[in-house]
């Protein structure tokens, strides 16, 4: 009798031992499933249905939503805008961030202050940054038009201009993110062993050569990683579009997420909205995977 209950107790304990890890990860996976895995699957599923204000019950339409995107000039314009926005922000942000990281990596006085001043835009909401720049970019009374004249910048209504508006958003994007990427670069620079620079110096390499032969190859994993992050960031930009231009003038600054927002939450077209979400999802996934593949092949490991 007692030996039997002992055995049951042991079996129960073994079960508890087996199940415990699953109990520990359960809360995480409940939330993860509802708000990460399920929405991915469901976005693809819904993208094959007609589901909007006009037809509130879902109706299977095959690839019609994708065909609609293919045939809509605005879709291509949005994609082009976003590529241009990425091409404008990413190389510029990375180059400036690396330059600043190199400067700040010297043993100089006032380092902490410089770092704080360069980094603080990371800490403030994009919504606040948007307000700041709306005021600076405003025509007639804005700071940029007044002082921009000294730098040879045109005296224009930046956010109302069909090509310059996008570049104004690029400016805000670089201003907001450059400090963050500088700090990531700083971490990359600090692991480069000093003796490599010593060796280069003995070989007679000047600062320029030391940068291109030692620093640049050795921070390439960071460049790579930061580059991918920055491109993904560029495809996620929405706050500044919503608050500064509303996608205008005439869709000149309409970027991907704003386009999704318009279709889903202004025109209530969940079917088409899901199809373009799925396309964005695939673009970003392809970028991430490409990133990891090249990372293994090309990039120099320190």
């Amino acid at each position: 009798m007692s030996s039997q209950s002992g055995r049951i107790g042991k079996a129960r304990r073994r079960w508890a031992q087996t199940l415990r890890p699953y109990a520990y990860i359960l809360p995480t996976f409940v939330f993860l499933f509802i708000f990460t895995h399920w929405p991915i699957l469901r976005t693809f599923y819904v993208s094959f249905f007609k589901w909007n204000m006009a037809s509130p019950t879902m109706e299977f339409v095959g690839a019609a939503n994708y065909v609609q995107a293919w045939k809509t000039p605005l879709f291509w314009q949005v994609l082009g805008n976003n590529l241009l926005f990425a091409a404008g922000t990413v190389p510029l942000t990375l180059a400036v961030a690396l330059a600043l990281a190199l400067l700040i990596n010297q043993k100089i006085r006032g380092l902490a202050l410089y770092r704080a001043l360069l980094f603080y835009p990371t800490m403030i909401p994009m919504a606040a940054a948007a307000m700041i720049w709306l005021w600076i970019l405003t025509p007639n009374y804005g700071l940029l038009n007044y002082y921009g004249k000294w730098l040879g910048l045109p005296d224009v209504h930046w956010l109302g201009h069909s090509t310059l508006a996008l570049w104004a958003l690029v400016l805000v994007g670089v201003w907001k993110r450059v400090g963050y990427y500088m700090v990531i670069y700083l971490a990359g620079l600090q692991v480069i062993p000093e003796h490599l620079y010593e060796a280069a110096r003995i070989e007679g390499a000047g600062p320029w050569q030391r940068f291109w032969k030692v620093t640049f190859p050795l921070v390439s994993p960071t460049t790579f990683f930061v580059g991918v992050m920055a491109v993904i960031d560029a495809f996620q930009a929405i706050d500044q579009v919503y608050l500064m231009t509303g996608g205008g003038p005439g869709n000149a600054t309409n970027l991907f997420i704003f386009y999704i927002y318009q279709n889903a939450f202004r025109f209530f077209d969940f079917g088409y909205g899901s199809a373009i979400s799925a396309i964005l999802f695939l673009i970003l996934l392809a970028l991430t995977l490409l990133a990891f593949r090249t990372l293994h092949r090309k990039v120099h490991y320190a």
Partner: protein, 276 residues
């Protein structure tokens, strides 16, 4: 020697120029916030306020339920963190120290959260939140963030570093897993929690788009939304001094916290980049 000092002078000059570009916008809005309403409409920028005034700040408090937005933001940001701490601790411990069937696959499923852009699933999450009856609540803003792959990943690294002997010794003394977590593992991982906490709070304090999608009334709206909505009213869009005062009120506390604990914030964000 001479070339070294001229080099350091050049470094300072470049850094100073960069720092100016970053800081001038902030200085400009601070000064604008203290100006009188019509003072800003001048073709030549007047830097200093002619008659410094607090009226813009008082005007903000009259024009909107500012403290309500503030309270909502605090509840959302700290509420998310409080729940995250529980979920990431348990999951990180399981992934770091326990053997179980399907562990590697489950870990990859967790990392999916780091790899996908959250904005690409916003429509479906909106539908889910609506179906759960959470639309226009603070919980709706919090819901998608209650599990964190980044936090789990960060803590897992820390937990892995705790010597196994410590756990075995504790077990011999009759200390169960949960107690070990509470009294040994968590205290040892405090720097990790701090780094994660700072990044999480900052991110959710600053968030705009998801709260915009799932809230409709002041009962659930956060500060950034209050700011955005005010900017788009006729009153807000014409009144730069009040708009800048509100912007300043939104960023003041986080910015002060950053300036006080600069190193901690920067190190935390550094880790967020390396982990994510």
């Amino acid at each position: 020697m001479r070339s070294r000092s001229s080099w350091s002078l050049a470094v300072h000059a470049l850094l100073l120029a960069a720092a100016l570009v970053m800081v001038v916008p902030l200085v400009w809005i601070v000064l604008t916030a203290f100006k009188e309403r019509n003072e800003v409409f001048s073709q030549v920028p007047q830097w200093l306020p002619g008659h410094p005034t607090f009226n813009n700040f008082l005007g903000v408090l009259d024009a909107m339920p500012f403290w309500r937005y503030y309270w909502n933001t605090i509840v959302v940001a700290f509420g998310i963190l409080a729940i995250q701490v529980v979920t990431i601790t348990l999951a990180a411990y399981a992934f770091a120290r326990m053997q179980f069937w399907g562990r590697d696959v489950l870990f990859i499923l967790l990392l999916v959260q780091l790899m996908i852009a959250p904005q690409s699933t916003v429509i479906q999450n909106y539908i889910t939140v609506t179906r759960l009856g959470l639309l226009d609540t603070k919980l709706a803003i919090m819901a998608p963030y209650l599990a964190s792959a980044f936090g789990t990943f960060l803590l897992r690294q820390t937990f892995k570093g705790i010597p196994r002997e410590l756990e075995e010794a504790a077990a011999l003394d009759g200390c169960g897993t949960l107690r070990f977590l509470l009294y040994v593992a968590i205290p040892l991982a405090l720097p990790g929690y701090l780094a994660f906490g700072l990044v999480s709070i900052t991110y959710h304090w600053n968030e705009f788009f998801w709260p915009l999608v799932v809230t409709e009334t002041t009962g659930s709206r956060t500060l950034t939304l209050g700011l955005g909505i005010f900017a788009q009213t006729a009153e807000g869009s014409a009144d730069w001094t009040m708009l800048m005062a509100m912007t300043l009120m939104v960023i003041a506390v986080p910015l002060a916290a950053f300036l006080l604990f600069q190193r901690r914030f920067i190190n935390s964000f550094m880790q967020s980049g390396l982990g994510g």
